[in-house]
Amino acid sequence: MELTGAEIVVRYLQDESVEFLFGYPGGAVLHIYDALYKQDKVKHILVRHEQAATHAADGYARSTGKPGVVLVTSGPGATNAVTGIATAYMDSIPMVVITGQVPTALIGNDAFQEVDAVGITRPCVKHNFLVKDVKDIAQTLRKAFYIATTGRPGPVVVDIPKDITAAKCAYQYPETVTMRSYNPTVKGHTGQIRRAVEMMLDAKRPMIYTGGGVILGNGSESLVQLTRTLGYPITNTLMGLGAYPATDRQFLGMLGMHGTYEANMAMHHADTLIAIGARFDDRVTGNVKKFCPDARIIHIDIDPSSISKNVKVDIPIVGSVDAVLKEMLRLIKDGDGKPDAGALKQWWAQIEEWRALNCLKYDTTAEVIKPQYVLEKLYEITNGNAFVTSDVGQHQMWSAQYYKFDLPRRWINSGGLGTMGFGLPAAMGVQLAHPDAQVACVTGEGSIQMCIQELATCKQYKLPIKVITLNNRYLGMVRQWQEFFYDRRYSNSYMDSLPDFVKLVEAYGHVGIQVTKPGDVEGALREAFGQKDRLVFIDFITDQKENVYPMIPAGAGLNEMILV
């Protein structure tokens, strides 16, 4: 039996077990929307802006490990999706984005709602396709899912002209996919792994530094085993939080620009650095010339181009994090080498001295609400078990510092691209994937307004997200930089004419609470999380001038932190 291209798209998504399709209809995808209407296996989530479709799919992907799937129309549908595609690309999130295109005969004619989607998205996708024949739809989608989810994951765009979705051919799910030009390495080089283990066991001042790759590669369990076996200190990047339990004694907190004193000092003084699924981002290294001056570096990553890109390493290992860590554990178990207990004892004594500085302390006697306090209470009230999404800025850093993530895939934020507006739609994807879980979106009064229209989507699909807004009437991170580096010239960082958020969320059909006193923080949070079937938006009026500490200024090394 022959199916239309549109029916093939939908059948394919069913066969790929896609639960949710985040999208927004328009002319070029009308055939596909018609095919969606006639089935109920793939649930379509109607967002209010295409950017939110990509962020929601992204939140779904980050919290489940499964690819997020998006459907948008041609032209503005595709361009609106670009921010979310770039966000997913920078954080290596598996995603398949289907964009409608004008009919084949009109391509290149400046037709209505025409844009070169393949051209526009090329620099921010892992790969993209323009489908030119209905017979290629199934195979192309198969390749798209395969590329998006294997190796270093990433978004893949499939652009389908409208006439191709109307044309007909027979459909069969392509069982196999082979691409001569795409074969990601999984197993690490045995000799390199052996050398790395020798170097690790020889360390006097070791440090384990892990990133988002451990979470993406489901390597968390192996990481915990290896770290405990060795007894070494460990730090996670912003993207890697949750890969190692934050409440464990061996965990030194996040590193980098707003990392803890103990994590950054331990990095700086380490003699052996074990980097796992991390990419030596500039927010992590500070000045690369001053980065880990005494350390020999082992780097495990699935993407060869991440290795020795910013910092030259001594032992590169290309492979899947989990496979490599398991092999390391086996070698350590079977070998006679042991960590140097004496040296390690001294090293830990030094680290405990750094830790005793308690770099995350803040003024707990203030009469205004301190943002850190809100995060600490959020952590307590959710028992550290919530999925926390965030937007971008100070609130993001405070969430990373004060919410102690013990499990992977619980901390959902735009680390690489730093996309304001990410938090709320991402929380929608998380809540859809985990209907019974507590989902909090920590945001600011600036960020929330970049995708606030999604409150309507939350209403439509009854998503009981808790929106925790730290409202300081400033673009806080911008203000902080202006305070430090621009002589307090607060150019356009004040948020004037804010809406009455309580009334606004009520207008959308949700519950709004405003909290102005520290004494009311806990009660408001308890009330919000008590409302299990409602979205509750809490507008916390916080200290206007609070800054994120510690901070490493641009150009400085990891040991040159501003503490308070």
């Binding site: 393949v118 051209g119 090329r122 620099p123 892992k126 790969h127 323009l130 590329i147 691409m179 001569r180 030009s181 795409y182 993407d303 060869p304 181009s305 020795s308 890109k309 030259k312």
Partner: protein, 163 residues
């Protein structure tokens, strides 16, 4: 350091722009670039010349390998190789210069492939520096047009860019 990177590429629309886009997006330069289909119609072979430190060249080859359309690549400058470039030059050839230009062309083993009363068009192949040298010797006459293909290259002996 100058490097010649030769790439087997899926012969698909957009593949070339992925390569070119990678260079502009990451701030690498391309000195020359040639591309044409191979004896296997599903593959194109692209040769590009670039400059950079060892670290940059390492990144360039890694990033190129990451492109899904790149099947295989080789840095020809890492081993013994032959490089050639095709050049067509149209020069003003009148009076005494007619004989002089013909003589120079012979010395450089070029060919005059089009003749009019006032012009010659010369075809020449060779490594880039030979073509540069030829252009230098022509300073006495007026060059009307120069067209260069960019470098093509192949490794010597058994070694090569094979699937």
């Amino acid at each position: 350091m100058r490097h010649i990177i030769s790439i087997l590429l899926e012969n698909e629309s957009g593949a070339l722009s992925r390569v070119a886009g990678l260079f502009s997006a990451r701030g690498y330069n391309i000195e020359s670039l040639t591309v044409a289909v191979t004896e296997e119609p599903s593959l194109s072979r692209l040769t590009l010349v670039t400059r950079g430190s060892d670290e940059i060249i390492e990144q360039i080859t890694k990033q190129l390998n990451k492109l899904v359309d790149v099947v295989k690549l080789i840095d020809l400058t890492e081993g013994e190789h032959i490089e050639r470039e095709l050049m067509l030059v149209k020069v003003r050839a009148v009076n005494g210069m007619r004989e002089e230009v013909k003589r120079l062309t012979d010395i450089f083993r070029g060919k005059i492939i089009d003749v009019t009363e006032s012009t010659y068009t010369i075809e020449m192949t060779g490594a880039g520096d030979k073509l540069d040298a030829f252009l230098k010797t022509l300073t006495g006459s007026t060059i009307l047009e120069t067209v260069r293909s960019g470098v093509s290259g192949i490794s010597r002996g058994e070694k090569g860019l094979l699937l």
